[in-house]
Assembly symmetry: C2
Homo-oligomer: 198 residues x 2
């Protein structure tokens, strides 16, 4: 093994620590503070373990887990973009995230850098069963949090049921069963006044 292989792996592992300081717009359920990317990624991974039977197509669990564990690494440089920002902000986000992926994964030994970069691109493209299921969980988790914290983050940002439906519709691409559940809780959120209809 080249002398610096472990050094590069550990440098990447230390770099990852920064995700613990990147805060999202989602409130935790257990206490009134915003969760960070590390907590969010862990929660997605645990959900993948428990909910994988609901994926529309069979998924390789190890691939889904690696994807959700690494999907937000680019936010170390690019920051968290609010899900309901406009299209221009999202195009700018894509540019920043591509640069971030290039820099951060390149810390790793070449073979692993390529593997992690490809995994991240696969997640973003949502063209494989694993990526579609991982992306569905990435939407379901904050939606559950927003519902269980009585829509506080939705109301703080003036979000409507119409926007939530549109933004989360690709849960349906990964799991029809979970999407049906989501439709029920969105209707309930409207009924409870957590979300205006439009």
């Amino acid at each position: 093994m080249p002398a610096d292989r472990l050094d590069r792996q550990l440098e990447f592992i230390v770099e990852l620590d920064s995700l613990k300081s990147i805060h999202r717009k989602t409130l935790k359920i257990c206490e009134p503070s915003y969760e960070n990317d590390a907590e969010h990624s862990w929660h997605l991974a645990a959900m993948a373990v428990i909910l994988r039977e609901h994926a529309d197509e069979p998924v390789d669990l190890a691939r889904v887990l690696q994807m959700v564990l690494m999907h937000d690494v680019v936010e170390i440089d690019a920051g968290d973009t609010f899900a309901y920002d406009d299209e221009a902000a999202h195009r700018e986000k894509e540019r920043r995230e591509e640069l971030a992926a290039k820099r951060i994964f390149a810390i790793l030994p070449e073979d692993q850098a390529r593997q992690m970069y490809n995994l991240w691109r696969e997640f973003e493209a949502r063209e494989t069963p694993e990526a579609r299921f991982a992306a569905a969980l990435d939407r379901l988790q904050p939606l559950l949090h927003n519902y269980l914290t009585r829509g506080t983050a939705w109301r703080d940002h003036g979000i409507t049921a119409e926007q939530v439906l549109e933004h989360n519709s690709h849960i349906a691409e990964g799991s029809t069963f979970l999407w049906e559940y989501v439709l029920r809780i969105i209707r309930d959120a409207v009924r409870r006044g957590y979300l205006p209809e439009s």
Copy 2:
């Protein structure tokens, strides 16, 4: 599917959120605050992805990942026990964690409850290659944090190099290669004054 299967799975997923409020005695590297169990579990999982080639025996990545993602769930009820507490405290911890595992995993549908409980017991017993490697990472991660935060948590608790060596020695059961690295950083920590020898 029984009507309540998804309800039970989601109840468990919501219960897990509490790990985001259970603080450990390890400082984050990226900011001067203590990390919580969710952040720690995510970091272990990412380390498993990157470092698995260093396990002494081949490991099934999906099993290792599930183990590290779920290994601290019992702390929702049992709390974080300081690694350097005495033996009586550790026996009491085992009792509390067994009760916690029984309650928390039982939220899940029966098949998954059994599966997650068995995975947790497997992790604790360190008798399989996957459990030995997962346990090695569970020691290596805080050790790296303590070293990179200049031994602050070690000094705050009056820990010596002798204690660190003894406590972390089962890293050697999972990876001889990572254990050699650990011996080097412990020696360096002594040299830099982060740790007194005894």
